[in-house]
Symmetry: C2
Subunit: 377 residues, 2 copies
């Protein structure tokens, strides 16, 4: 990744004990902010990104020159209204957009850490990002929010820091990665590790990365982000710039061409080892097991208000798994709202311009901010 | 593949014009039979195999030394009762178990054909297998049957030869490969073609095959054969021979270990180029489009009795797509029965020991044989 010099980051000096047992300190945590922190310092929202996201939730990503991954949701007048709220988003540790990860250069060897980087967890990611509160001198966040792996971080954050966020929005996520979730991630990892350029994670030359394996991993994941119906409606059996089948192995169908494209652009912006580490963290995520099978116990110390959101056609983290979170919260009388948004766009829905979804968040956040902060604008 | 000398085959001398425009002749078609052809020659059932199957539907496969892929269904007293019926099964062209395919040695170069093999279709496969009727001197089959790609061949066979089978059993299939189906197949093909050993299909040395890519392709496909619920019940988050997570990239979870195993054993019995060709044939399959959007027209010339079978948890070829076949048959007043079998085992169900499924076929075939052949045993 070039242009990483443009990235803002804090250096976390404090020691952080990881779940694997190792301790890390003096590590970089890259972040971006949108909007302004108000005088009372009570309007901050910490947004967590998903597997392939980064700190650039909105605006132009200065490294990739593409729109931020949550541009539909974060911005002036948008769902996370940056005229009102101060949105903070950090690159997770294990990532490749400036935070401490496998592509971080080891000062001793002057080479990327590669698989010397420790295996991290969602818990580790969240604990690392907690340092941002101190950095911004925020006593309590107004909200934590995120979709997919971002939602897992929301759940973990509230469990770890029950008194640090007034509102929690876990979106299209799960409290425990399922066997099918693990299976798809393992498929991606095997695609990367099977690439002869991977070299046990010690690749380092620019044109010798395991791009082919990473592209296949991305293709696999991408299929899981879309619904069968959505794929059929968008692509069906439409041919790619040809009037008939070509009887070869080039992309005859638009869906083939689309997947190849998704794979090829992904490798320009993402590190293969980061893909391994972050999928591993997702697979290790099991908040239910951490509390001995009783997810309610993860939240029993918190007064955070929850708003759980799922999508009808999401088969990666289906409504049933989101509802399990709601049930665990109801069981302890926690404040929880829940909505299942109708969409044919599958898991990807949380990233898209779906008015019902975006308006729901906007209205909820604005109303709850007024209610909880007892101020009238 | 060693031991291919043990394979029975016919040499199809007649010229066969393929959908791609090429003509082939004097090509081998490997087959196996179970049971005996009766004197009236009216008890034959042609069984079509799925993507990774072969002619060894039952008994011991002499090449792999494993049980035939439909051992639960084909045999004495079983669903396809070989005490009554004469079951024929052929390796599809494009396959790698003795039939004409990309691993066939080119007599000119003494090397495998590789990607010089023509791109074939389900139609081509069925037309090639039609030659078995002449070889066995069978005027009319009692039945054609198959699951998954085997079911596609059933539909194509009846459409091509409306007067050559009394009964047709398309199981867990579709009349038109969906965008999601194509996407998963393309993922598998990209995994193979990304393997540096693939070499544009010209690999030929025994220990230098694109095994890693083929294993990844198999893993991807395998996930689609199982249901989310079935995976969760069978594997969940159970660990593989360890009491806790190891914080590395070895297989921590049983599902990971299972998938790796599925990939590794597959490459011993299957040719990577065959995988490309056969998935391509599946993706090209669109019987509905062939009849200008009216699937009924594919069957309007036939008096074949249909029995369509689907499984509740099959998300690869879901009940809705099987029901489309039923609807198209109903629309022309064809004789058609339909059952959706309850199973948590996903698409794989058609290969498994599911009593409701196997008994249904057995009773249907036995009763229909008595009815149609007007003989009482």
């Amino acid at each position: 990744m070039d242009n990483l010099s443009k990235v803002k980051s804090i250096i976390v000096k404090k020691s952080l004990k990881l779940d694997c047992g190792k301790e890390i300190s003096n590590f970089p945590l890259a972040y971006e902010t949108y909007g302004k922190l108000n005088e009372k310092r009570d309007n901050a929202i910490l947004v967590f990104h998903a597997l392939t996201g980064d700190q650039y939730a909105s605006g132009k990503n200065p490294v990739t020159n593409k729109d931020g991954w949550w541009s539909y949701a974060v911005g002036p007048g948008k769902a996370f209204d940056t005229n009102k709220f101060f949105v903070i988003c950090a690159n997770v540790i294990g990532g490749c957009m400036g935070s401490y990860g496998p592509s971080t250069i080891d000062p001793n060897t002057k080479k990327p850490l590669g698989t010397d980087f420790p295996v991290i967890t969602i818990n580790d990611m969240v604990n690392a990002q907690y340092n941002l509160l101190e950095f911004f001198e925020i006593e309590k966040l107004f909200a934590v929010a995120g979709g997919s792996m971002g939602g897992m971080q929301v759940l973990q954050f509230v469990s770890n820091f029950p008194n640090k966020a007034k509102v929690a929005l876990p979106i299209a996520c799960t409290a425990s990665h399922s066997a099918q979730n693990i299976a798809f991630n393992e498929l991606g990892r095997q695609a990367i590790m099977s690439d002869s350029n991977w070299k046990d994670g010690l690749y380092e030359e620019k044109n010798n990365n395991p791009d082919k394996g990473l592209a296949v991993a991305r293709m696999a994941a991408h299929i899981t982000y879309l619904s069968k119906k959505g794929l059929q409606e968008k692509f069906g059996r439409k041919l790619q710039e040809r009037s008939d089948l070509k009887f070869g192995f080039d992309a005859d169908f638009q869906i083939e061409s689309y997947l190849r494209y998704q794979g090829s652009v992904f490798v320009d912006r993402f590190d293969a080892n980061s893909y391994l580490y972050i999928t591993r963290a997702m697979d290790y995520f099991d908040l239910t097991k951490k509390f001995n099978g009783n997810l309610s116990k993860a939240f029993e110390k918190t007064k955070t208000k929850f708003f759980v959101i799922s999508f009808t056609s999401d088969w990666l983290y289906p409504t049933s798994e989101n509802r399990d979170i709601v049930i665990s919260l109801n069981a302890i009388g926690a404040e929880v709202s829940f909505v299942e948004i109708k969409s044919d766009k599958g898991h990807d829905s949380f990233l898209l311009d779906i008015p019902d979804f975006l308006n729901t968040i906007k209205n909820y956040l604005n109303a709850t901010f007024l209610e909880l902060n007892e101020t009238r604008i």
